[in-house]
């Protein structure tokens, strides 16, 4: 009997025989990470309200394995920045990001976090990517829970396909260096 390829729902492609499946450890780890995200909500304004709806029963972020919010960066995998970030808040956001454990991802929810939004003014940071690297931007003012869920799904795709050694790579170090994060 030859080897068949098969795909688990939401899982990596694998060769299956009778009673076993073969795949790459990178893909298994990616699958495990993607389906057990611990988000750290950094909600500063109305996008945070939409996030509350996203966590509640109708939309239920728990379906994607992100049931457990972490209010300390130490255990968090995903920093969700939701809302206007004033310039004074910038260093605080950066400190929270820096203190997260590797591997970590960032999602900028809403126009303000992504680009400053309507607040094109001296006091507001014109997008959080001025202080920390961002993986996924969710547009909207505020984005509905469906849009936030879409962002989470995009993050899950990123996590699934991330090379295992990416966090040790020179590109990643250069990226953090460009933000002066040691």
């Amino acid at each position: 009997m030859g080897l068949n390829t098969s795909k688990l729902p939401n899982g990596p492609e694998m060769y299956v025989g009778e009673g076993y499946g073969l795949t790459q450890i990178e893909k298994v780890i990616g699958m495990a990470r993607a389906n057990s995200i611990w988000p750290l909500p950094f909600a500063t304004s109305c996008c945070g309200i939409e996030f509350m709806a996203t966590m509640a029963s109708t939309y239920d972020l728990g379906r994607f394995g992100a049931e457990r919010l972490s209010f300390s960066p130490r255990q968090a995998d995903l920093l969700m920045v939701m809302g206007t970030i004033a310039k004074k808040m910038g260093p605080i956001l950066k400190q929270v990001y820096t203190q997260m454990a590797e591997p970590k991802w960032v999602i900028a929810v809403g126009a303000c976090a992504s680009s400053g939004g309507i607040f094109d003014t001296y006091s507001v940071l014109q997008g959080i990517d001025k202080v920390i690297p961002v993986d996924v931007y969710v547009p909207g003012c505020p984005p509905p829970p469906e849009a936030i869920l879409d962002g989470i799904l995009k993050i899950q795709e990123l996590i699934k396909n991330e090379p295992l050694r990416r966090r040790e790579s020179a590109e990643y170090n250069d990226l953090l260096q460009s933000y002066q994060i040691d």
């Binding site: 300390s72 960066p73 130490r74 260093p91 605080i92 956001l93 950066k94 400190q95 929270v96 820096t98 203190q99 454990a101 590797e102 591997p103 966090r167 040790e168 953090l176 994060i181 040691d182």
Partner: protein, 126 residues
């Protein structure tokens, strides 16, 4: 019991031992492996204590007022005493003088303690 039965019992328990080793080995092994294999960065900022993104100020080991703690712990003490009063109050007639005597023996040390607390000024707030 002959030796073969004892041998069998030993074999029965052997599987439990194997399971125990696997459980401890898996949990411990996973902890150790993730620490060895997982990516990490250890900068000075990263290793600072987490204070919601702000710099921590001063020392955490400061003397603080003991008043609230005293009031709270005394409340708990006398609150529990009241719980013992309830069954006595309900069965007051049946227990009679014998029960009364026992309650007095129970309460007297508490009242002495209460007198001591008042004298010490533990409940004075200002």
């Amino acid at each position: 019991m002959d030796t073969s039965v004892i041998e069998n019992i030993r074999l029965d328990y052997f599987s439990i031992l194997v399971q125990f080793i696997l459980v401890v080995g898996f949990v411990g092994g996973t902890f150790i492996l993730t620490h060895i294999l997982g990516p990490k960065r250890k900068g000075t900022q990263k290793l600072q204590s987490f204070e919601c993104g702000l710099d921590s100020i001063g020392s955490a080991r400061l003397p603080f007022s003991v008043k609230y703690f005293l009031a709270a712990i005394l409340f708990v003490l006398f609150d529990i005493e009241i719980i013992f009063f309830y069954p006595w109050a309900i069965n007051f007639r049946e227990l009679g003088y014998d029960g009364l005597l026992k309650m007095i023996i129970f309460i007297t040390p508490f009242l002495l303690g209460y007198y001591y607390v008042i004298k010490k000024g533990a409940l004075k707030w200002d």
